[in-house]
Symmetry: C2
C-alpha cells in the first residue's frame, strides 16, 4: 500500500457531492477510505462542509476521524454538534481519546455531554482521566485493559477476559492484580493459549512486570518503552494500584512531537507551527528569535564601532567579521546539538570537566586546520603575513571559545532543570557572534600592536 | 520504574568481579538487570571483560544484549567468539535481529556460522533475509509470524497456531493466506477468542489488510504505520505473497534515527555521531560543514573588499555586516526547517508558487518590523538618517531573499529526489551570508549614491 494522497480533484468531487446532498454517493465513496485520510480531507473543507460530513458518516468512523483532526477544525465542528451528538462520538472512542476531546470542550457543556453518554462505566472512566495533567503518564493512559485477579483460575479468567476484551481494541498483556487492585504481574495471551484451563492464575503468571507511575513525564515513558521494546505498559497510582495502560502508538506520537520540538528550537522557531499555519502564527513563532539575532547584530556593530580606529590601517580585519561570526555560530551549534542529543538519549557519561576538555581538543584540531587554510589563502591573496597570521590565530581562539560555550550552556541548563534544547540555534549563534567578534578584534589588536 | 542508570561504582564492581572470576556473583548480580541495560554496561567495558561476560551469561540473554550493543563493541566481541558460539546466539534471536548480526560478520565466516545453526528452518529464514537491501522493508522485516490458510477451520487453525506461536514473541495478528501463500486477510487473536471452534476461516477472516511491499523504504513504512496506528504490518513480495512482518518497535527506531539525522543535518553534523565518539570521528562529521562556512566567509570578505572604496565615507555599513549575515542565516534556516518538516510529514499542500508568495509576505512582515527597530536605533545612535534608512531597507530585502531561498531550495531538492534536510543548517546559512552581504552593499551603494 501507499499512503493516501489527497488530490485537488478528489476534494472538489467531495465538495460537489456535499453541495448536491448526494449522501449515498458520499458514503460509498468514503466507505473504503481510512479515518486518518478522511481527517485529512475534512481539514481542508469549509466548516459547513466538514460538519455535514461528520453528521452524515457513521459515528464509529467519525469518532476516530475527530481524534485525527487539526485542533482548530475539531473545535469548530464540535461547536456545531449537540451534546447528544458529541456523547455519541465519545461512546465509540477509547477513554484516552475521549478524555482528550472532552478536555478541549468549553467548560459549560462538559457536564451535559458527559451526562448524555449511555455507557455509565465509560463515562466514569473518562471523568477519571480528566483529572490527570495532560503532560503526564496519567494524561496519556487509557482505561481499557484486561485485568484478572491472582485468585482466579484460568477458566474464570478466560470467561472474564472475553467480556473485558470486547472493550479493548488491542490486547497486549493481561495484567494480574490482587484483591486491592494492586499490580502483581502479567500473563501473555500466548501463555494463555498454551496453558491448561485447570491451572491457577497465581501459579502461572509472571511476577515481573514493568510499570510507570501516573505522574511520570511522557518523554520518560517514551524512553522506557522504546529502550525496553515494550508495546504497552501498565500505569499505577501512588499505592501501586493499576489505573490504566499506555500503548506504543501513543508513544510514537510523543517521540515525533519531541523530535519536532527540538528540531524547531534548533532552527529558531519557538512554538509548534506548520508550514500551512497562518502568517500571523508563523510570525509569532519566528519573530522573537529574529529579534534576538537583531540585538546580537547591534552588539556586534557596537563592538566593531569601538575598534573603528583600526579601520584605516587594517580594513581587511573588518572584511573577515562575517567569517568569524559564521564560524563561531556554526561551531557553537554543532557542539550544543551533540550535547542536547546526548542528554535526550541519556548517553552522556563522565563529568562536565572532561567533556569541556574533549570539546577544547576537538575545537583546537578543527580550528588549526581551518586557520591554516585561511592563513594561506589570505597571505597569498593580500600579501600581508602578519595580518593574515593575526586573523588566523584569532580564528582558532574563537572556535575554541565557541565550542566551549556550546558545550557548557546546554549542560548548565540541564543541571538547572531547564530544557537544554533552547540553547541550540539562534541563542547560541547570537551569543557566539558577539563573543567571537570581541575576541577577534582584541587578539588582532594585541598581535598587530595597534 | 525509572530507567536503569549506570554508575561508575557499579561498573567498577562488575570489573572487579570479572577480574576475580567470581562467576556466580556476577550471574546473580546481573540476573535481574534488563538486557538493554547489560548492553549499556558492556559498551563501557574493555574487550576482554566484555567477551568474558558474554561467554559467561546465558545465551537467551546475551543474544538480546548483542543486538543492543554499539556496532564496534559488537564487532570486537563477535571476533572473539567461535562460529559455534555465534550460531548459538543467533539461534535465540528473531530472524530480523539475527540477519542484522550476520550481515555485519566478515564474509569468510558467514558460511560456517550459518552451518552451525541447529534449527535449519531458522537458518534458512536468516539466509532469506540477507538478500534484502538494509534500507528497505525487506531489510526490516522478520520471518516470525503466525499465518493460517483460508481453507482451514478454526480448530486446525488453533492447533497450527499453537505450534507457530512458540517461535513468535508477540502475536499481533494472524495472517490468512491462500494455498499459494498470497496474503488474503487477517484474523485478530481477540476474534479467535470469541469465535466458535466450528467456524471456517474463510467465513470469519477480515479480507481487508494493509501491507507493504518488500521494496518499500523504511521511512515510508514508518509513515504508514504511524499514520494508521498499526502495531505490525505484513510484508509481501512482488507476487503479493506473504514474506514477513514488521513490528512497531523496529519502526520506533526508524523514527528516532530519522529525527536524529535531520536534527544533526540542521546543526551541521554530517554523519551519525554521538558525544562519546572519538575526536577523530567527531572531526570527520563536523569539519566539512565548517569548511563550507569558511568558504562562505571568504566569499563575504571578497565581496566586502570590492566595496572597499565606501569604507572611508561609510564605515558604519561595514559594522552591520555580521547583523545582515546573521539575519539572512536565521531567516533561511527558519523557512527551510518549516519546509523540511512539512515534506517529512507529507502535509504541504498547494504549489511552489503559492508557498513562495506566502513566505515573501511573511518575510516582508518580519523584515519591516525588524528594520523599523534597526532604523530607530541606528538613527538615534549615529544621527545619520539616510545611512540608517539605507541599512534598514537593505535588511528588509535581504530577509525576503533569504526567506525565498530557504523555501525554494528544499522544495527543489525534494522534487529532484534529494533529501531536502541537507539544505538546512550550514548550507543555507552560508549561501544566505554571501547573498545577503552582496545585496546589502549593492542596495546601500545605490541608495547612498556612492
Amino acid at each position: 500500500m501507499t499512503p493516501f494522497k489527497l488530490t485537488d480533484e478528489f476534494l472538489s468531487e467531495i465538495e460537489a457531492l456535499i453541495d448536491d446532498q448526494k449522501n449515498s454517493s458520499l458514503e460509498s465513496l468514503l466507505n473504503e477510505v481510512h479515518y486518518a485520510d478522511i481527517a485529512e480531507i475534512i481539514n481542508e473543507l469549509s466548516e459547513e462542509h466538514a460538519t455535514y460530513l461528520i453528521k452524515l458518516l457513521d459515528s464509529d468512523k467519525t469518532s476516530d476521524v475527530l481524534t485525527e483532526l487539526d485542533e482548530d477544525v475539531r473545535e469548530a465542528i464540535l461547536n456545531n454538534l449537540s451534546a447528544k451528538e458529541i456523547a455519541g462520538e465519545l461512546e465509540e472512542l477509547d477513554t484516552d481519546d475521549a478524555a482528550d476531546i472532552v478536555g478541549e470542550l468549553p467548560k459549560e457543556i462538559i457536564h451535559e455531554v458527559i451526562s448524555e453518554i449511555e455507557d455509565r462505566e465509560h463515562a466514569k472512566d473518562i471523568v477519571d482521566l480528566l483529572r490527570y495533567d495532560e503532560n503526564s503518564a496519567g494524561g496519556l493512559m487509557a482505561k481499557e485493559l484486561v485485568k484478572v485477579r491472582e485468585s482466579w483460575n484460568i477458566l474464570t479468567c478466560v470467561k472474564e477476559m472475553r467480556a473485558q476484551a470486547e472493550n479493548v481494541t488491542r490486547v497486549h498483556s493481561i495484567y494480574v492484580v490482587d484483591d486491592n487492585d494492586k499490580l502483581k504481574g502479567r500473563l501473555s495471551l500466548k501463555d494463555l493459549l498454551t496453558t491448561s484451563t485447570k491451572s491457577h492464575i497465581s501459579d502461572v503468571y509472571i511476577p515481573k512486570v514493568d510499570s510507570v507511575s501516573v505522574n511520570e513525564k511522557p518523554e520518560e515513558v517514551a524512553k522506557i518503552m522504546s529502550k525496553y521494546d515494550l508495546e504497552a505498559i501498565p500505569v499505577v497510582d501512588e499505592m501501586n494500584r493499576l489505573v490504566g495502560r499506555i500503548t506504543i502508538d501513543d508513544i510514537v506520537d510523543v517521540i515525533r512531537e519531541e523530535a519536532e520540538k527540538d528540531y524547531q528550537m534548533a532552527a529558531g522557531i519557538s512554538q509548534d507551527v506548520e508550514a500551512d499555519d497562518s502568517i500571523w502564527n508563523l510570525t509569532r513563532a519566528r519573530l522573537p528569535w529574529l529579534f534576538l539575532g537583531l540585538v546580537g547584530g547591534l552588539g556586534a556593530a557596537a563592538i566593531m564601532g569601538s575598534f573603528e580606529n583600526m579601520i584605516s590601517s587594517h580594513a581587511i580585519l573588518f572584511f573577515f567579521t562575517p567569517l568569524i561570526a559564521a564560524m563561531a555560530g556554526n561551531v557553537g551549534v554543532q557542539s550544543s546539538a551533540i550535547i542536547v542529543q546526548g542528554l535526550a538519549n541519556d548517553d552522556l557519561k563522565g563529568g562536565v570537566g572532561s567533556r569541556l576538555i574533549k570539546e577544547m581538543l576537538l575545537a583546537m584540531l578543527n580550528g588549526v586546520v581551518l586557520a591554516t587554510v585561511l592563513l594561506i589563502f589570505t597571505w597569498v591573496y593580500k600579501g600581508d603575513f602578519l595580518t593574515s597570521l593575526a586573523i588566523s590565530i584569532s580564528l582558532v581562539v574563537v572556535i575554541i571559545v565557541a565550542g566551549l560555550i556550546g558545550t557548557f550552556i546546554p549542560l548548565f541548563l540541564h543541571k538547572r532543570g531547564i530544557d537544554p534544547a533552547i540553547a541550540t540555534g539562534p541563542f547560541i549563534t547570537t551569543s557566539n557572534d558577539i563573543f567571537g567578534i570581541l575576541i577577534y578584534f582584541s587578539i588582532a589588536k594585541i598581535l598587530l600592536g595597534i
